[in-house]
């Protein structure tokens, strides 16, 4: 995980910090993370739009074999979250595998996503957690 690119981390900060999606001005659809062209119609006419912060867990995978810097969080739960206007792939945090189920309500939270070893950059951004935690 060593050698994060500072410009790449910097460029992604807005969509990671604020859950900002790309909105196509041609077909009106949203996608996350934002890209330069619409994945649905190919248009390059895009604007930014903040996504809702509460959604439903559509599906998830439990990952037991994780990178070194994720070991303290293992097993890592990766979820597909339906926010109504868009779907987001995100880590599900503050939960064990037995706490999650398809259809459960989840909400966006700001967390450490990755870190470049002990001396490099810390990457912050959105994860999702169960709305009812305990």
């Amino acid at each position: 995980m060593a050698g994060f690119s500072a410009p790449a981390v910097w460029r992604g900060r807005t969509h990671r910090y604020r859950l900002v999606a790309g909105k196509c001005t041609s077909c009106g659809k949203l996608h996350y993370p934002p890209s330069y062209s619409c994945p649905y119609c190919g248009s390059r006419s895009m604007v930014e739009a903040e996504l809702p912060r509460v959604g439903r867990l559509m599906s998830y995978s439990v990952v037991y074999s994780v990178p070194f810097d994720s070991k303290s969080r293992a097993p890592v739960i990766l979820g597909l979250v339906d926010l109504g206007v868009a779907r987001v792939i995100s880590e599900i945090t503050d939960a064990s595998p037995e706490d999650v189920s398809v259809g459960m309500q989840v909400e966006a939270v700001f967390r450490r996503i990755a870190e470049d070893g002990g001396t490099g950059l810390i990457v912050y951004g959105i994860k999702f957690r169960p709305v009812k935690g305990a």
Partner: protein, 356 residues
């Protein structure tokens, strides 16, 4: 010297708290290190809150600040200062305040800085903000106190050092939920608690942290404030102090002449631990969650090294419509996931893992 005058133009527009969900019981810590149960019972502790492995003072501070902004209902573009008080910075050099300001949409035209004064840094940010707002230099300021407090494993400090955050949006008094009536600072060079550059855990002067540090400075600030404003303890509905454990805030309140019923509403440390820069500010938030218009509150954070600020705050009618716009302290305290000592040690990076 009157110190209260500029603050009368300022008030609290939003307050917000974040408490991580993970908790460990005092019995688990005592059992691990061979402490007698009388040790933590003397501190009036029950459980403490622990940040998860993907949390730090920045992430917790942002969640508290976002909750404060929900209650404030102000345009992020009108915020002119973001002050972040912590003694557990994720970066030794690189501000957390800019990360939080960016995530809140406050950047780029704003002041933003991390402040350090042990547990009192956020309070210094609050006092500075009162001056900035009262002078008209900024319209709104966000003050955040957030810590993932460190304690050497096996040290008595481990019973209380916990994780949590509180944030306040301060602005002009019209429309605010509580108006500042006055404030008073009291600082000296007192070596009661410190952490040297590059070392992971703080050291402390054992009994020296009490009388010449915590008690002397809070009493100095609170008495100075009351003398300046011509107020006495019975003029306040509530008083809340820094809470290094469950016992000290009751004792200092009693020494100042407050009754237990004025103090209990603001005491949260027995259930979540000492959240350092957020300690007194979470206590104040719990009072605002329940206070009635017209209530007068004395709040006095404390930081080792040492210093205390005392504030007199009067609650307004606006508190009623703001309090339900973000999670209340009691809701956050009750949302908990119990963990054992080994999970706590892993989450707080106390287990050394070697990269292969």
């Amino acid at each position: 010297m009157p110190q209260q005058r500029p603050e009368t133009a300022t008030g609290i527009h939003g307050w917000g708290v974040y408490i991580p969900r993970f908790r460990i019981k005092m019995e688990d810590i005592a059992r691990e290190w061979g402490w007698s149960d009388s040790q933590w019972k003397a501190l009036a502790m029950i459980e403490k809150a622990i940040a998860g492995p993907d949390e730090d003072s920045t992430t917790m501070g942002l969640e508290a600040a976002a909750n404060a902004m929900k209650r404030a209902g102000v345009d992020p573009g009108d915020v002119g200062a973001v002050f972040f008080g912590t003694e557990s910075k994720p970066y030794a050099v690189k501000p957390s305040a800019t990360i939080i300001a960016e995530a809140l949409g406050v950047t780029p035209v704003t002041m933003a800085s991390d402040l350090e004064f042990a547990c009192r840094a956020a309070s210094e940010g609050l006092r500075a903000s009162l001056g900035l707002v009262a002078s008209g230099m900024v319209k709104y300021a966000i003050i955040i106190g957030s810590d993932t407090a460190q304690a050497n494993p096996g040290d008595v400090l481990e019973f209380t050092a916990s994780s949590g955050a509180a944030a306040y949006v301060v602005g002009p008094s019209p429309g605010s939920a509580a108006v500042f009536e006055g404030s008073y600072s009291y600082v000296t060079d007192t070596p009661d608690f410190w952490r040297r550059e590059g070392t992971p855990y703080p050291r402390h002067g054992e009994g020296f942290t009490g009388e010449p540090a915590y008690f002397a400075h809070i009493i100095g600030a609170a008495r100075g404030l009351m003398n300046t404003l011509g107020l006495k303890p019975s003029d306040f509905k509530y008083a809340v102090f820094h809470q290094p454990n469950g016992r000290f805030p009751l004792k200092v309140g009693e020494m100042l002449g407050f009754k237990p019923e004025q103090l209990k509403a603001g005491i949260v440390t027995p259930l979540i631990g000492n959240t350092y820069n957020a300690s007194a500010l979470i206590g104040l938030a719990r009072i605002l969650d329940n206070a009635a218009p017209g209530d007068r509150i004395l709040v006095a954070p404390f930081g080792s090294g040492a210093g205390s600020d005392a504030y007199s705050i009067i609650v307004t009618d606006a508190v009623e419509e703001k309090r339900n716009k973000a999670p209340k302290v009691d809701e956050l305290v009750s949302k908990k996931i119990m963990i054992n000592y080994s999970t706590y040690a892993k989450f707080r990076h106390m287990i050394r893992v070697v990269r292969e």
